[in-house]
């Protein structure tokens, strides 16, 4: 699954276009930013995941409701590190027929706290952000974000 979604993410990130009866594709981008602490010294750090997408498109919340593709964070951490909390912003509610979809429509940020051993680690802190971006159609994708040292 990872491989095919990477292909999609690349295609989406490049803003590709399908020939024929189709429309321009959206772009999704992100970054993983250190807010506080250092993996070299501190045992706890806070990070922020910043996500942006093409205007007019949306992605699903973590729990998008009956209609919607769930957005997921898959952390890839050095040995001994773990995520102690994730704070997602409240999604917007969009009616879809008789149901509601919970979505993000523009730039948004997820805050997370990580803890790990004090010893220096050369392994990167990164995450895979997977999503389905929708407007008149839905396209799966994922981006891998790495925390700058």
């Amino acid at each position: 699954m990872r491989g095919v979604l990477t292909r999609v993410a690349l295609f989406v990130a490049l803003g590709g276009q399908f020939p024929g009866d189709t429309q321009p594709l959206p772009k999704v981008s992100g970054s993983l930013v250190r807010v506080r602490g250092s993996t070299r010294g501190d045992s706890a750090i806070e990070v922020r995941v910043d996500i942006a997408m093409t205007e007019g498109w949306h992605i699903g919340a973590r729990q998008p409701g009956k209609v919607g593709i769930p957005t997921k964070l898959e952390w890839q951490l050095p040995k001994g590190w773990s995520v102690t909390s994730e704070n997602w912003p409240a999604p917007k509610t969009e009616p879809v027929g008789r149901d509601s979809a919970f979505i993000y429509t523009g730039p948004f940020s997820i805050h997370a706290s990580l803890v790990g051993p004090r010893a220096t680690s050369q392994e990167p802190i990164q995450l895979v952000f997977s999503y389905g971006i929708c407007r008149e159609m839905c396209i799966p994708g994922e981006v891998t974000l790495r925390l700058a040292r």
Binding site: F18, D21, Q23, V67, I69, E94, G132, C134, P140
Partner: protein
């Protein structure tokens, strides 16, 4: 006498023939899921129902067989089943598996020009030879339509199965 079945040709519902096709066959593949908001739009559902009749008629005019296939990419088969139910009859259903769904694997991921998007309709042609062993030509994609606005618009134009810049014999 009152009847619940629409009488106008464009309002007919598609009914599979359940016959082994010989020679050229047109296959319409619809890709969608319950998680795809645009797939749930009433105009998209109506367009998919109407598309099957319109494409089947064109296949018949060209002396070809026709089959309608739905690929519902929900993870759960029960949800996928609930997704295709309002869309009327199909010849084949490929349900579940999310983006690993076998039909999606074949017509999206294994096709270099495949498009990972829902809702999507693919119009494919293949040639079937019957015998002790059936054989199939490599399927050729004639048309690929994606999007909740594009699909109803294409169906409104009669759901032409020829590629936009080519004419079929």
């Amino acid at each position: 006498m009152l009847t619940s079945r629409p009488m106008l040709s464009q309002e007919r519902d598609y009914v599979p023939s359940y016959e082994t096709p010989k020679g050229r066959q047109i296959v319409a593949i619809y890709i969608g899921s319950t998680t795809c908001g645009p797939c749930l739009l009433p105009e998209v559902k109506a367009a998919v129902r109407k598309m099957k009749v319109l494409v089947a008629d064109q296949a018949k005019q060209q002396g070809a067989g026709f089959a309608a296939v739905a690929a519902a990419n929900d993870w759960e088969v029960a949800k996928a089943t609930s997704f295709v139910e309002p869309l009327g009859e199909f010849d084949q259903l490929v349900l579940g598996g999310n983006w690993t769904n076998l039909a999606i694997e074949r017509y999206v991921w294994r096709d270099p020009e495949g498009v990972p998007a829902m809702p999507q309709i693919l119009i494919v042609e293949r040639t079937i030879t019957t015998g002790t062993r059936m054989s199939f030509s490599e399927p050729k994609v004639l048309r690929r339509i994606t999007g909740g606005k594009e699909i109803p618009a294409w169906v409104e134009r009669g759901a032409p199965i020829s590629a936009p810049d080519t004419q079929h014999p």
